[in-house]
Symmetry: C2
Subunit: 142 residues, 2 copies
């Protein structure tokens, strides 16, 4: 394991990440936050810190749908590799599918479709309760 120093950049970025433990965020979100804290940090520094956090498993990195930039998510629990996540397309909030049904899904995919699920890379999209009430969209499956 490599040595590492404590710096204010690192602290503030972790503060942001922990504050948004239930949401997906982008590098730009972090930069905006640091700016609001009147702490000037170079973009490169933010990317390098994110990269490190991703490598150590603290963050999970994903491309978002559409043309947007990469999204990151705090790996809140150790079991994040064992369940898939649902992300609200409206508020970006992330929900962990931590229930018995999760096993049923993995088993079904494996037994009936010969598919070995990779939970980290998978992502279900849709609308969470709050947002579906707001948006009243009917284009989603029920």
């Amino acid at each position: 394991m490599q040595k590492s120093y404590n710096t204010k950049s690192k602290d503030l970025i972790m503060k942001f990440v922990e504050k948004h433990s239930d949401k997906a965020f982008t590098a730009a979100d972090i930069i905006r936050f640091l700016d609001e804290q009147n702490f000037s940090v170079n973009t490169t520094t933010v990317y390098r810190n994110i990269e490190k956090l991703t490598k150590t498993g603290t963050l999970i990195k994903r491309k978002s749908t559409g043309n947007e930039s990469c999204e990151y998510q705090l790996a809140t629990v150790d079991t994040c590799q064992e369940h898939i996540h649902m992300q609200c397309t409206s508020c970006s909030k992330i929900f962990h599918l931590e229930c018995d049904f999760m096993k049923d899904i993995a088993h079904h995919l494996y037994n009936h479709h010969n598919f070995s699920l990779d939970c980290i890379d998978s992502m279900l999209k849709g609308l969470c309760k709050k947002c579906s009430i707001k948006n009243k969209k009917t284009t989603h499956c029920k």
Copy 2:
């Protein structure tokens, strides 16, 4: 509906798309293919054709995981909005979860997690049968 002309670019791009009806591909893949056909087309043209195909519903557009560029997939069946897809992280092949269990998933998410699934944006990742035999990875759920 807007008028449209037949051009060689359009033809070749469609040829590529149909040839890869079971896979995800990027704009770069198309450009490479056109190049192999010794047909010189500008990048812009490719993107504009892809955009049109996406708008008409022929293609489904998605950001891929990691740092890669956008991925496209031929909407082979009309029901692609009603089932989620599984993509092999090794061979990029796409599988349609067209079975009764699909409904169970949507219902479960809606009834137990208040989540309205959006099938187009969702994507399950993992290894298909062929690739899991090749790779012998054990890090995936079963």
